[in-house]
Amino acid sequence: MFKRVIEFEGPVLGVVINGRECSVPASFTAAAAMLASEDGATRETPISGAPRAPYCMMGVCFECLLEIDGVPNQQGCLVPVAAGMRINRQRGARTV
């Protein structure tokens, strides 16, 4: 689990992570918001259903695929949070 240890200045906004309302700094990506509120898998693979979580946080591995505002297969580590954004774990969605 990840905790906020340095509070960079900036606005905070409300998002919904796996159905739970949270407030997160606007500087977070969707993947960062997920890691700050949940432990364990953030997606299951479409092939074997294996549990996965963000690996690189820089846009190369595609392990952070999330369902964002109803759209699956979003690269969570490249998507900044927005007010009201609904971020969900991805359950074995078809690959992009």
């Binding site: 689990m1 240890v5 960079f8 500087s27 092939i47 690996y55 297969n73």
Partner: protein, 482 residues
């Protein structure tokens, strides 16, 4: 299939927009030290310049989040002076006339040097007379048993979370692997309040490195920094286990423990998070998709675009600078970015070759000491053989398509499979969304080791655009709006 349709659709869409498309003298991809320095230099030379980058703010991975971080009193203490030095470069960039497109992914550059971009406004295209690829580096994949489990990420990922979001892992952290960044990131996590339980360092290769030692010790800052980090970690009681081998991560649905062998004994650590790292490799997918010729760098165990003295690639009008052209570190990237900008200006006859040479001579001199330490570091931290190509058959190599080392080895020995492109057809390695970024080098090393040849002889995947998945809908909607 989707990607074929995507390209077809892009071509269609292209015809409609090319006439009105914005055109620049220089387009730079990547906002790390190379891209930023190139942008600042090019703009000062009067080149109409655009810089496209995936992130929301300039800095690349090395200076990730530097603008926000530099306004916080804890940053200098946690991240150190090398990181803070990035603030100045970013300030210069912001003050320059470069048109900056953040949060924008370049998914294709065509042979006419049109850049196809997905950004805040959907899909757009821009044209450029010169293109500079400054796509930086990524961490070398560390394919070991259990590396796909939640609770395992790269050291760089943890560092990114700290720099960009101020997030640090809680619980029991173990870092494993090798390379200079391993200790730096361990120290940063410690300064942020959660010292790692242990650092597991793979065997270093002093025998291979010794010839480069004199040049290395003549670059005093590297030696001083390395020793400083070890001392700092030791003082804080962080355990550094050296000469570790056979690292494996155990757990069902998440990482629970890490096992390793040291001094002939198998040991085990309970963990909440394992951070892996074994150096960085050039991020070459964009250069590969442009069909730039690449060469195998045996010292760095990676492919890099072939460049000539002017930092031009084998493709007309396409330059490469920074770590994506071969690992040299942040400062070297910045200097090479400046050299690339002068060359781009010469290529379009904005400045004479004489003026370029005069300007570049002092930069080349400044570059030399930064490159002097590299051969020692490359050799000393050479990844162990079993990390380049997993020995155990059931280690996942291609994370996207879930292909294991044993399957790849079996194809090499039982089938006629000349290279990684044919491997795709057999087992789908590299066919997933990451397009081989996380399996390419491992597949090549596996094939090379099984056959007993150099990875350079095996070659690499052919990468086709789009280099980032792009939904057909995104193109279609955009085309209709026009």
């Amino acid at each position: 299939m989707a990607s074929i349709l995507g390209i077809f659709c892009a071509a269609n869409f292209g015809l409609r927009t090319l006439l009105t498309m914005d055109t620049f003298e220089l387009a730079i991809v990547g906002a790390g030290p190379a891209g930023l320095a190139a942008g600042v230099t090019a703009a000062a030379l009067g080149l109409r310049t655009v810089l496209v980058d995936e992130q929301p703010a300039p800095g690349g991975q090395i200076y990730r989040g530097i603008e926000a971080a530099s306004r916080h009193p804890d940053s200098a203490r946690v991240f150190g002076e090398d990181y803070m030095a990035g603030a100045d470069l970013v300030r210069q960039f912001r003050a320059s006339a470069v048109k900056y497109l953040p949060l924008s992914q370049v998914w294709q550059i065509d042979r006419d040097r049109n850049l196809w971009i997905r950004g805040a406004n959907g899909v757009t295209a821009i044209g450029a007379r010169q293109v500079l690829l400054a796509t930086g580096a990524m961490e070398r994949p560390v394919p070991i048993p259990g590396w796909t489990l939640p609770g395992v990420m790269t050291c760089g990922a943890a560092q990114t979370l700290l720099k960009s979001a101020g997030l640090a892992p809680s619980g029991r952290i173990v870092l494993a692997g090798g390379g200079p960044l391993l200790l730096l990131i361990a120290a940063q996590l410690m300064r942020a309040g959660n010292p790692p339980a242990a650092i597991l360092q793979t065997s270093t290769n002093l025998r291979r490195a010794i010839a480069h030692l004199p040049r290395f010790v003549s670059s005093p800052s590297y030696v001083r920094k390395g020793l400083g980090l070890v001392a700092e970690l030791r003082r804080a009681g962080v355990r550094i286990e050296r000469g570790v081998g056979d690292i494996r991560i155990l757990g069902e649905t998440r990482a629970e423990a890490v096992e390793y062998i040291r001094a002939g004994t198998r040991r085990r650590e309970q963990v909440d998070l394992v951070l892996l790292h074994h150096g960085v490799v050039p991020n070459t997918n964009l250069a590969l998709s442009l069909r730039c010729e690449h060469e195998w760098n045996d010292a760095q165990h990676a492919f890099q675009p072939r460049t000539h003295a002017g930092l031009g690639s084998s493709v007309e009008g396409v330059l490469v600078a920074g770590d994506c052209a071969g690992i040299g570190g942040a400062k070297a990237a910045e200097l090479r970015g400046r050299i690339a900008a002068y060359n781009a200006a010469t290529n379009i006859e904005r400045i004479s070759t004489d003026a370029r040479d005069r300007q570049c001579a002092p930069i080349q001199r400044e570059l030399r000491p930064h490159l002097r330490a590299r051969p020692f570091l490359d050799a000393y931290f050479e990844p162990p053989r079993d990390l380049l190509a997993p020995v155990e058959d059931d280690v996942v190599v291609c994370r996207c398509e879930e292909v294991r080392a044993g399957e790849i080895r079996r194809i090499v020995t039982e089938q006629s499979c000349p290279g990684p492109n044919q491997m795709k057809a057999f087992v789908r390695t590299g066919m997933g969304p990451c397009q081989g970024r996380l399996c390419g080098l491992t597949v090549v090393e596996l094939m090379a080791q099984t056959r007993g040849v150099s990875p350079g002889e095996i070659g690499y995947y052919r990468i086709r655009p789009p280099i980032k998945p792009i939904a057909l809908g995104e193109l279609a909607t955009r085309a209709q709006e026009k």
